[in-house]
Each structure stands twice: as C-alpha cells, then as structure tokens.
C-alpha cells in the first residue's frame, strides 16, 4: 500500500510540474525585459549611426540631411499607398527609395539587419505618435 501511495505522490508531483511548465511557458522577469530592451536599443543606436552616415549611399549624402532626428519621415503612416510609386508600400520600401535616389546607393534587402536598424531608429524618434496607417 505504501509503495502504491508513494507512486501516486510521485506521479502527481510530476504532473503538477509538467502542468506548471506548460501553463507558464514564458515567465519573463524584469531582468529579461532589461536585457531585451538593451538589444533593441543597440539596433536603434546602429540605425542612428547609419542614418547619419555619409557611407550609406554612394554620394556622401546622408538621411539626416533632409530628416534631422528622423523628422518628416512619417513612419506611423506606413503601410500606405505611396502615390509616387503607384502602390501600397511599407516604410522600408521608402527607405530603399531614398537610398537609391537622393543617396545614389544600393538598396538593402528587407531582412538586412541594417534595414531593421534604420527602421528601429526612425520609429524610435517618432515614439508616442499614434499610428495613422494609410495617411498620405
């Protein structure tokens, strides 16, 4: 009998353990949040650097020359119908248009860490402004 009771105890403990593991799959802590935010801010910093770099394009023009502090970039309005491109595009499409045209450079792949960094910086400088997707 005792052996049976011990077995029941072990099984129920195991079940609880597994149950806890399944129900609380992502018990992130303050320390985690801090760590992840640092990783994000590193991308913002990288984007800041690229945004102000004369080497992003091929003619030494940098993004901040028309967009100091990322102003007049309107990241909160994307995706939208970009009249000049004749279709609905995302922010990174407009970033690439700028890299190719005023900066006379080579466009970045959509998943290039540099593109993500640029988006991180531009949206960071616009934090708090409400989303307004589709606005011209």
């Amino acid at each position: 009998m005792r052996k049976y009771l011990n077995l029941c105890l072990v099984i129920s403990l195991l079940t609880c353990g597994i149950g806890l593991f399944i129900a609380y799959a992502d018990p992130f802590t303050e320390a985690d949040l801090k760590k992840w935010n640092e990783a994000y801010m590193a991308a913002v910093k990288e984007g800041d650097s690229l945004f102000h770099s004369s080497k992003l394009g091929k003619n030494s023009v940098s993004c901040d020359m028309c967009h100091p502090n990322g102003s007049n970039a309107h990241p909160e309005t994307y995706p939208k119908f970009q009249k000049q491109l004749g279709k609905v595009v995302g922010l990174r499409d407009m970033i690439n248009w700028c890299i190719q045209n005023p900066l006379e450079g080579t466009p970045l792949a959509a998943d290039d860490p540099k593109m993500i960094a640029l988006e991180a910086y531009i949206t960071y400088e616009r934090r708090g402004v409400k989303l307004d997707p589709g606005k011209h």
């Binding site: 023009v61 901040d64 100091p68 007049n72 000049q84 248009w97 700028c98 400088e125 934090r127 708090g128």
Partner: protein
C-alpha cells in the same frame, strides 16, 4: 572656324530657354506710398551646400539647384540691384567646393553681397571666405537703406579651438544639424560692440536690414535654428523704427514679427529642412505666424528648394520663387503690424499640402 554646337552648349541653351518659359516674369508691383527712399529690389540665393564626392565629382542634385537659381536671377527684368548670397556655399568648407560654387555664381550679372554660413566657416575659420568673398561682418548703404551683414554662426571658443582633434572633424561636427555634440550659434561681444558703433551714426527712421545666416531669434536649439545672444542683438536694434532681419540656414519659408523686428528666412537651393514642430520628441518655438510651404515631395528633386527676391524699402515684399510650387509672397506694408502671406495667411485659406505634415 564656325563654332561647333557641343552637347554642353546645346544643354545650356535648352536649359536657359526652358527657364525663360517656366520662370514667372510677372511680380506683384505693390504700390506702397508714404515712406521716403527709392524703391528697389534685390535677389538672394542661399544655402547651396556644394558637396564634393571626390576629385571633380560633386553631388549633382545640389549643383543643379545653384545653377537653376543663377539662370533665373539673370532672367529678372528689371535686374535686381544686387544678389545676396545667404551662406553655406560649400558643404564642408573645402576649397574645391568653394571654387565649384564660385564657378557657377560667376555668371550672375549683378554684384553679390556675401553672408557667411557655418558650413563655410568651420574648416578654416573663414580664411578662404575673407580672401575670396568678403569680410566676415560689414555694413553698407544702398538707396537710403542701411544694410548690416553679421557672422552669426560663431560659437564657444573652447568648442572651436580645443574640442576637436582636427579642423576636418570640427567641420563634420558642425555640419550635422541634429548633432547632440553641437554648439549654439552666437554673434558674440566683438560684433555686438561693432554693431552698436556702426548704428550710432544711423538715424532712428532709417530702414535697416540685417543679413545673417542663422535666425537672430530662438526657434529650436537642437537644430541651431537659434542664436544664443539673440536678445542682446535685438536690444541693439530696438531703438530703430524699421528693422528687417533676413537669414538663411533654415531652408524653408519662415517669417515672424517680434516687437519692431520683422524676420524673413531665405529659401535654400539645395534641399528643404523640415519645420521644427515636425520633430515630436522636444518642444519648440515654431513661429505661429508662418504659413508653411507645401510639404516637399522627395520624388521631385527641386521641391522645397528655390530662391527669392525682395522689394524695399517701403515695407518689405518677399517673393519666394519655389520650384515645383506656385510662388509665395510674404508682405509687410507700412501700417501693417506683421508680415503676412498675400494669399494663405487666413486659416480658412490654407491648403492640404501646408497642413499635411
């Protein structure tokens, strides 16, 4: 030997012809009575930011802006009395950039009055400028108006002389508008003392025009739309009844009135700056009076750029010649308390491109 038409001469002629057709020749002749002094017009070209990529290769976009302004100024009829160059001819103050810019400006058929900008100054601290263009600050009289040119883009001596390892690095730092390591513009004591002395011989009713690169009032410090000792300069100008301050640096339609001082900004030929109230993270002092220019379309290279011409001395009529946009006219006639846009000043008259920032 008959001169062969090369591709270059053809393009030059075609460009001139296009400008002649496109340029709006009619200007508002405003009948402004009462004030003594002969009516006259001067033009301005400002903020050309000629940029060397390497060797003889320059940023084509900015070259195009300056070239277009020169062609259009030369088409003015009647000719302006002179052209003010509002500063920032070079992007990084390099000899090659100055020479390339001067090569284009040499075609201007009337005298040029030079105002230095920070992009011209911070590589060699005005050495080339003083040798080839003009003194850093000076005054002159023209048809009853007293003109004062100031070097308003100075800053702390420590930042100028001790902060940066090379003059190239110092120039790069000052070239960046949104630089957290920047330093505010100043006129400083030597010029203020000179200004006081210069104005001591001027009667209170004499119209005065101050030409500076940076705005002589405080709009937004992070972008140096700002002069640190603005109040002190304004105090020296306070006793005079008719003072207009014309400046570059901001690359946009911008105008304001503060007490007896009327402010007007020059357009840039190179590129537009956004309005300070488009940066959402910090407070600013955007003049409520200004009706913004149409939001620039980046797909049109010359949108948001232009030049202008100004009629004096009875009041001021400022014609903003905006490429890719209808011209704007900002006027302050005698009797008016502040400058106003002749078409859009009333809130009911605004159009979407002026609001859709």
């Amino acid at each position: 030997m008959k001169e062969r038409m090369t591709r270059r001469t053809f393009l030059k002629a075609a460009g001139a012809l296009t400008a002649a057709i496109a340029f709006p020749v009619s200007r508002a002749e405003v009948a402004l009575g009462q004030k003594p002094g002969e009516k006259f017009t001067f033009a301005y070209i400002s903020d050309s930011h000629i940029t060397q990529i390497k060797g003889t290769e320059f940023v084509r976009n900015f070259d195009n802006g300056l070239k277009k302004a020169v062609v259009e100024v030369n088409f003015m009829d009647p000719k302006p009395d002179f052209v003010v160059f509002g500063g920032d001819l070079a992007q990084l103050g390099k000899k090659e950039e100055f020479e390339h810019g001067l090569e284009m400006l040499k075609d201007v058929t009337v005298p040029i009055k030079w105002v230095i900008g920070e992009h011209d100054y911070y590589l060699d601290l005005g050495k080339y400028w003083q040798e080839k263009m003009a003194p850093l600050y000076y005054s002159f009289d023209h048809k009853g108006v007293h003109f004062v040119v100031l070097n308003s883009i100075l800053t702390d001596d420590d930042w100028i002389h001790k902060r940066w390892p090379t003059s190239e690095e110092r120039m790069l730092q000052m070239a960046r508008l949104d630089n957290p390591n920047g330093s505010p513009f100043m006129v400083k004591e030597e010029q203020r003392a000179w200004l006081k002395k210069d104005l001591a011989k001027i009667k209170q009713e004499t119209p005065i025009i101050v030409l500076s690169h940076s705005p002589l009032y405080k709009i937004f410090k992070p972008w140096n739309f700002w002069t640190d000792d603005a109040e002190q300069v304004q105090a020296i100008l306070k006793p005079f009844k008719d003072v207009k301050i014309l400046h570059g640096h901001v690359h946009q339609v911008l105008y304001n009135q503060m007490g007896n001082l009327t402010f007007n900004a020059f357009m840039a030929t190179a590129w537009p700056w956004p309005y300070v109230n488009t940066y959402s993270q910090l407070p600013n002092k955007m003049p409520a009076l200004t009706v913004p220019m149409n939001r620039a379309d980046p797909f049109k290279e010359r949108d948001g750029t232009g030049w202008g011409h100004i009629e004096l001395p009875a009041g001021i009529v400022h014609h903003y010649e905006l490429w890719e946009n209808p011209a704007r006219i900002v006027r302050k006639a005698p009797g008016m308390k502040q400058p106003e846009d002749t078409e859009y000043q009333s809130p009911g008259k605004r159009i979407p491109p002026q609001k859709h920032y």
